[in-house]
Amino acid sequence: MNNIIEIKNLHTCFGNLVIHENLNLAIKQGEILALIGGSGAGKSTLLREMVLLEKPVSGSIWILEQDILNLTDELWLRRHCGVMFQSGALFSSLTVAENIALPLREHTELSEKLIAEIVALKIALVQLPNQTGQLYPSQLSGGMVKRVALARALALDPQIIFLDEPTAGLDPIGAAALDELIINLKQLLGLTIVMVTHDLDSLRQVTDRIAVLADKQVVAVQSFEMLLKFEHQWVQNYFHGVRGKRFR
């Protein structure tokens, strides 16, 4: 298995506050990796750095064997990575279909007919009814917003998808359905998925490996079962707190 993403010696500061210090992480091709950590541990910051929304102080991030911090063509990264934000971040003035079509229009010269067909295909892939395309984001339920955001992230058939708390704010049934969809899409499309999540069910169901951010570093990258036995104060609290008890 190749490493599709490699983060080496990453340092991040906000003013005097050190977020990451000498952080290393390797993500394999075709796996679903979750980032967990206490609030303020820098999970979301790390995710944002991987998609160039924030810059680290030093260190390097390699995605698909490219040093993305010194990229001449930033659009290259945009074509290979899809991002789904926590609140969906759908453009409220565009319909669902137009939201999904936007990356296609920006990055390809396909005909309108083919774009419409690909959009319909993506909507079907995330298991939404086709009529959803004409709705505006304000007309969607929370679960639908997440699915549309996922469809937009998939628009350009990227190899890597970043998900920021995909199941946050969903009911258990909706969250489980989204988990299943993520697993299915990963298998069907051969995606590599990096996600930040706090949903313990999601962690157990979906992820291949879990990276734990604590003490400004990645202290462990292991499967769910292995992490349950991992000797680290924060990890122990996390999995063996009231909510984690049922997994023991």
């Binding site: 290979h80 390809t108 005909s111 295909l121 086709n130 304000s138 298998q187």
Partner: protein
């Protein structure tokens, strides 16, 4: 890995083998080659048009290097009935995925027809009109309620609105009125000078400013300043569900947000108009002295002789009506905001445009009415 394109090379433009086209038809077998990924599809899409009409029984994917969902869709849509042969297993899996995805294409990205658009807009306009009527009705009922129970009225909200819409508007309204007086006296004065009728500048500015221009332009400024603010405030509260929260706590938005605003503006706009009257006349006086040689004393002596107090009162009397229009339209538009950020912008624009339009319509009706009454 399955399906997705392996584009690990820095330049994603993997050149297709030059001598060979990505599509080639041999008898009833269509041979496909190269990279069928979304970045390359534009070129392939151009080539595929002639093939869709031909008879294709087999599609051979032996030489396809990479395939993604978009490419698989294009292949599949070429000839859905064809047999897909010699595909790599991961590519075949993608085509199977597309085959099994229920896809009902409708004209989701198409534009509606002209007549349909017109019909929809007409209905929307009629609905808006009735919604506005019912909004006014609701506001009136609420007003009636507080007339009977004044101790429950939110006086704090009223006073803070009076401050925001009135006191803080003084500098801009004053400046505008002063400049308006200057411009009117200057433009009118040069015409009067031709006939040596310099002193008649008092009649000219007195009637125009007091009766028409000062109240009207004050209303326009207030519509731009406060009407838009009302829409944006209520609209944003609508978006963030603050209005719903108010309702669940038991505070009707009408009582907290609408009535204080409407009443505040009804109180404040006549006062602002009077302020504008004073400063615009001052501006005219200045120009009368500088450009027309009419001294301040002459101006002041003539003013009460030729300008009846009725002009002043008519001007002031229109202001509360303008105020009600501006505040009601502003609040109504705020409640019309639906979920999106875009909607706040649209409704705020509409609020200002409609308020100013309705104010001018009301002014025209007043003019006709007073003309008919002979005052």
């Amino acid at each position: 890995m399955l399906g997705s394109c392996l584009r690990i090379t820095p330049q994603s433009n993997i050149p297709m083998s030059n001598s060979q086209q990505p599509l080639e038809l041999k008898q009833t077998t269509l041979h496909c080659r190269g990279v069928w990924c979304i970045q390359h599809l534009a070129a392939i899409e151009q080539l595929q048009a002639p093939f869709s009409a031909q008879q294709i029984e087999f599609i051979d994917g032996h030489d396809i290097e990479n395939l993604d969902t978009a490419g698989a869709w294009l292949l599949y849509s070429l000839q859905p009935q064809a047999q897909f042969i010699h595909f790599k297993p991961e590519h075949l899996a993608l085509i199977e995925l597309i085959k099994n995805t229920p896809l009902s294409l409708n004209k989701s990205l198409g534009k509606p027809l002209f007549l349909e658009k017109m019909g929809r807009q007409t209905i929307a306009q009629i609905q808006q009109f009735f919604a506005f009527l019912s909004f006014i009705g609701e506001a009136s009922l609420s007003f009636l309620y507080f007339l009977l129970n004044p101790q429950q009225f939110r006086w704090n909200a009223l006073f803070s609105n009076i401050y925001a819409a009135g006191v803080t508007a003084l500098p801009i309204v004053g400046l505008m009125a002063f400049l308006m007086g200057v411009v009117l006296a200057y433009q009118g004065g040069t015409q009067l000078q031709l006939y040596g009728a310099n002193l008649f500048i008092v009649d000219l500015v007195g009637i125009t400013l007091l009766r028409e221009l000062a109240p009207l332009l004050t209303a326009v400024i207030v519509a731009g300043r406060s009407g838009s603010a009302y829409t944006a405030q209520i609209g944003t509260m609508q978006m963030t569900q603050e209005l719903d929260a108010l309702k669940t706590i038991g505070i009707p938005p009408m009582a907290l947000l609408v009535l204080p605003k409407v009443l505040a503006l009804i109180i404040v706009l006549p006062l602002l108009s009077a302020f504008a009257d004073i400063l615009s006349i001052l501006g005219s006086m200045l120009i009368a002295k500088i450009a027309l040689d009419v001294s301040a004393i002459d101006f002041m002596t003539r003013f009460p002789e030729v300008i009846g107090v009725n002009h002043y009162l008519i001007g002031l009397g229109k202001a509360p009506v303008f105020a009600a229009i501006i505040a009601l339209v502003g609040c109504f538009r705020g409640f019309q905001v639906t979920g999106s950020a875009d909607s706040v912008g649209q409704q705020t624009t509409l609020s200002v445009v409609q308020a100013i339009f309705l104010v001018i319509v009301a002014d025209a009706i007043f003019s006709m009415l007073f003309n008919w009454l002979g005052i």
